[in-house]
């Protein structure tokens, strides 16, 4: 391999040869592959204590996206320099959060491919291209957000609503199971979550009148072990919160990744909007468990408790945000909390042991609710805010005050960080009949102002009070996630193509670089041989930064 490189180099001016040779030598001097060791469940539980690796979509099972790496700090972050970039060969937006295991990075690409690269150089080991049918039903573009790993196997959701297992050393396909029928409107884009000896995964398709669920699969065989529907069936608790047969096509997609608490043995997972999105007349009632947080038993998948953020939603305020689990000091006691900045513009602190609402407040502009009931946390609605045939102006707009992009939490500051949007939109209602595989949304929206007239910011929220501690304004509307580090940093991106770092305590701007294309992904950080790297996808390129050696 080296010979070929040198042969080509010889064609260039001779003075370049020596320089390139030394550079090549340095770059490939360490062989990393043999260091790759199987990722056991114990390693996943303890992922925070091997910060050199990024072992799951949200970093750790509590989804804080808080890394203990502290080589890059508030003092030196301005010295970050690009080390390499990897161009995804498919022109589509990259929403991927790569994993890094012992020096190997796994990047997912649109529509549902994986590439393994050397995390030090961005150069490829192998790739897996998923075979895709040509009759996909997808609401929102072709994308994939990442893989999960257990042992030496990667697990990936695919757009055609399959779950596949891939050998992490070669990219070979181990098994491929259909989770649901793609031609009925089901699809999959989120990274699965490993819970003990199972692969737990949700489903997308909330704009197609699906019935959402959360599944667990055997990592060895791909056999399904349990399925918990996000909409209860006849005879089950909550089925009567749907008028007539509307529960059958009620949506409640589970289209992102959840979190897990090993001590409580509970899986936390958010659910999406009820369908049809903007016409609630055909599904009267609270529409359980749409727009809810579900706590499922880690072994059986049974629902232990639920908390519904937006009963009878008519604005598409999905509650699929990633649940951040954090132990916080409140009123003189340690609370095992679940922190949630919802698409509906309210921030919630919830007791994750039992689902009890502790408090909540708006963290972004909203006009649809007067507030939350202080005891139950149920929103008190402003009358006249439902979509109409003529259009009703409501904040937040359909895309929400936040959405699927990961929030972050820092154990050093005790603050919760969210990418937020202060916007408004006219919501329209339409009458539609359900047809399998067709969009089933019952309306839509339009902006009355140019995007630049709205506001976006990164907001830091104190979860003990739900107050905003600082905010950093950026141009609307970012869909970048957040990662925090023990170096006192918040890393995130912007809609106008910047990757930047803020001081986690104060929100002060410390560093930014223009990557030129919208950031649709969350950053992640890892280390090799004692050197910390920070990675982000922008446009369809994955960039990696580190301090100069």
């Amino acid at each position: 391999m080296k010979k070929i490189t040198l042969a080509i180099t010889c064609l260039l001016a001779s003075w370049q040869v020596t320089a390139q040779e030394t550079a090549q030598e340095q770059q490939f001097s360490t062989v990393i592959t043999p260091a790759f060791t199987p990722v056991t469940w114990e390693r996943l539980v303890d992922a925070r204590n091997e910060p050199e690796n990024w072992l799951m979509y949200s970093g750790t099972l509590d989804s804080q996206r808080y890394s203990l790496l502290d080589q890059v700090t508030t003092d030196n972050v301005h010295q970050l320099e690009m080390q390499w970039s990897y161009q995804i060969p498919v022109i589509d937006r990259a929403e991927t959060v790569p994993l890094v295991v012992d020096g190997i990075m796994f990047i997912t690409e649109a529509p549902s491919n994986v590439v393994a690269v050397d995390a030090r150089t961005g150069r490829e080991y192998w790739r897996y291209d998923h075979e895709m049918p040509d009759d996909l039903r997808i609401c929102c573009g072709r994308n994939n957000r990442g893989v999960a790993i257990l042992g030496e196997t990667l697990f990936m959701s695919t757009l055609d609503a399959h779950l596949v297992a891939i050998d992490a050393r070669t990219g070979n396909l181990l098994w491929d199971v259909e989770v649901a029928a793609h031609d009925a409107g089901y699809s999959k884009t989120a990274a699965p979550l490993i819970v003990k000896d199972k692969v737990v995964t949700g489903i997308a398709g909330g704009e197609f009148g699906i019935r959402g669920f959360i599944d667990a699969y055997d990592p060895e065989t791909g056999e399904r072990i349990w399925r918990t529907y996000a909409i209860p069936g006849p005879g089950e608790f909550g089925n009567d919160t749907w008028s007539d047969d509307s529960w059958r096509t009620g949506g409640a997609a589970t289209w992102l990744t959840g979190s897990y608490d090993p001590d409580l043995n509970l899986i936390y997972w958010g659910t999406g909007n009820p369908g049809p999105d903007w016409n609630g007349d055909v599904r009267l009632g609270d529409n359980l468990y749409s727009d809810s947080a579900l706590a499922l038993n880690g072994d059986t998948g049974e629902i232990d408790w639920h908390f519904q953020f937006t009963p009878h939603d008519v604005h598409d305020y999905d509650s699929i945000q990633i649940p951040i689990l954090a132990d916080i000091e409140m009123d003189g006691r340690t609370v095992k909390s679940m922190l949630w900045a919802n698409r509906n513009a309210f921030f919630y602190t919830i007791d994750r042991a039992n689902g009890e609402f502790l408090h909540g407040k708006p963290y972004a502009t909203q006009t649809w609710a007067e507030g939350l009931d202080p005891v139950s946390g149920r929103p008190i609605r402003v009358p006249g805010m439902a979509p109409t045939y003529e259009g009703t102006l409501v904040a937040p707009p359909i895309v929400g005050a936040t959405n699927w992009y990961s929030p972050g939490y820092s154990q050093d500051t005790g603050l919760f960080y969210v990418t937020s949007f202060d916007g408004a939109q006219e919501f329209f209602k339409r009458d539609e009949d359900y047809e399998e595989g067709e969009r089933f949304t019952g309306g839509g929206g339009r902006y009355l102002q140019p995007m630049d007239a709205f506001h976006s910011s990164i907001r830091a929220i104190d979860p003990t009070t739900a107050d905003i501690v600082w905010e950093f304004p950026i141009m609307p509307r970012s869909s970048a996630g957040i990662t925090t580090t023990a170096g006192g940093l918040v890393f995130t991106g912007s809609a106008d193509g910047y990757f930047f770092a803020l001081d986690a305590a104060t929100g002060d701007e410390l560093w930014n670089i223009s990557l030129g294309a919208r950031v649709h992904a969350a950053p992640m950080t890892y280390a090799i041989d004692g050197r910390q790297y920070v990675t982000i996808a922008s446009g369809n390129v994955v960039y990696t930064f580190a301090l100069e050696e």
């Binding site: 573009g141 003529e390 895309v399 339009r446 007239a453 509307r477 910047y498 930014n512």
Partner: protein, 271 residues
């Protein structure tokens, strides 16, 4: 179905109707190919559009900054005939988010979409205007001195948008509003930024571009300036227009003449 009348879609108010008359709406004279162009077809097309296309093109088909899906109510970039629009919907625009419709969607539905999109536009030749375009052109370059700020076909000033094609995506009503109430709808590109640097000196100019960490302006002398936001003391946005209102400054008939002239500024339609 929503009761949104075609006139509402054109953004026309009753007042505007007194200024000009739309004689046929929509006009499909040139396209014998589309057999699905009755009022019912247009409604069905609208219904399908709202369901399948509005999430990118907007519920009013006026486009969406974020998805990059263009305004379909004015002149299209990629098609000038019904057949051309049909092909875009059937085949998509390769390499963009504009995917083809599902192969199972019948041709009839696609033609209904074409009819609906057609109903959002109108044949400019069918619009009768009160003013005289030639007089408008003379005013523009002469007494009214519009050309000191606006370029047309490479001639004129830089302190306003290039108007060479302004007739393509504006109704006569839009144009009249632009003249008598410039503050009504100012594109963010023509907002102004007043930048105060750390020494306290101030520079103001058009907001050529603003992003999360920097901004670029053009001042009165058409000089271009670029600032990192973290190196300045502060900046203000001025979202009103720098164009004077001509309400009362020009006579009604002069305004009509200018509107007639501006409305005529469009590319030749090649069929």
């Amino acid at each position: 179905m929503g009761q949104i009348s075609p006139l509402r879609w054109l953004g026309l108010s009753a007042a505007a109707l007194s200024a000009f008359i739309v004689t046929s709406l929509p006009s499909h004279g040139e396209d014998a190919g589309n057999l699905y162009n009755t009022a019912v077809d247009i409604r069905l097309g609208q219904r399908y559009f709202e369901r399948q296309c509005s999430r990118c093109h907007g519920f009013d088909a006026k486009g969406n900054d974020e998805t990059g899906a263009p305004d379909l109510t004015g002149r299209l970039n990629r098609a000038s005939s019904d057949a051309g629009i049909f092909n875009i919907i059937r085949e998509g625009v390769p390499g963009t988010a504009m995917l083809p419709v599902d192969s199972e969607v019948p041709d009839a539905t696609v033609w209904q979409l074409v009819s609906y999109i057609g109903s959002l536009r109108y044949d400019p030749a069918s619009v009768e205007l009160a003013g005289d375009a030639d007089s408008g052109a003379r005013l523009f370059n002469g007494a009214a001195d519009c050309s000191s700020c606006h370029m047309i076909e490479g001639e004129g000033g830089r302190m306003g948008p290039d108007l060479s094609r302004v007739g393509e995506n504006s109704t006569p009503d839009d144009l009249m509003t632009a003249l008598v109430n410039p503050d009504a709808d100012v594109d963010p590109r023509w907002w102004q930024l007043r930048v105060t640097d750390r020494e306290g000196s101030v520079r103001q100019g058009f907001r050529m571009n603003e992003d999360s960490f920097s901004l670029r302006i053009m001042d009165d002398n058409a000089e271009l300036w670029s600032y990192p936001k973290n190196r300045i003391a502060n900046y203000d946005r001025i979202e009103t227009s720098t164009m004077p209102s001509y309400d009362g400054r020009l006579t009604e008939s002069e305004l009509d003449d200018l509107v007639a002239y501006l409305f005529s500024l469009r590319r030749e339609v090649q069929q």
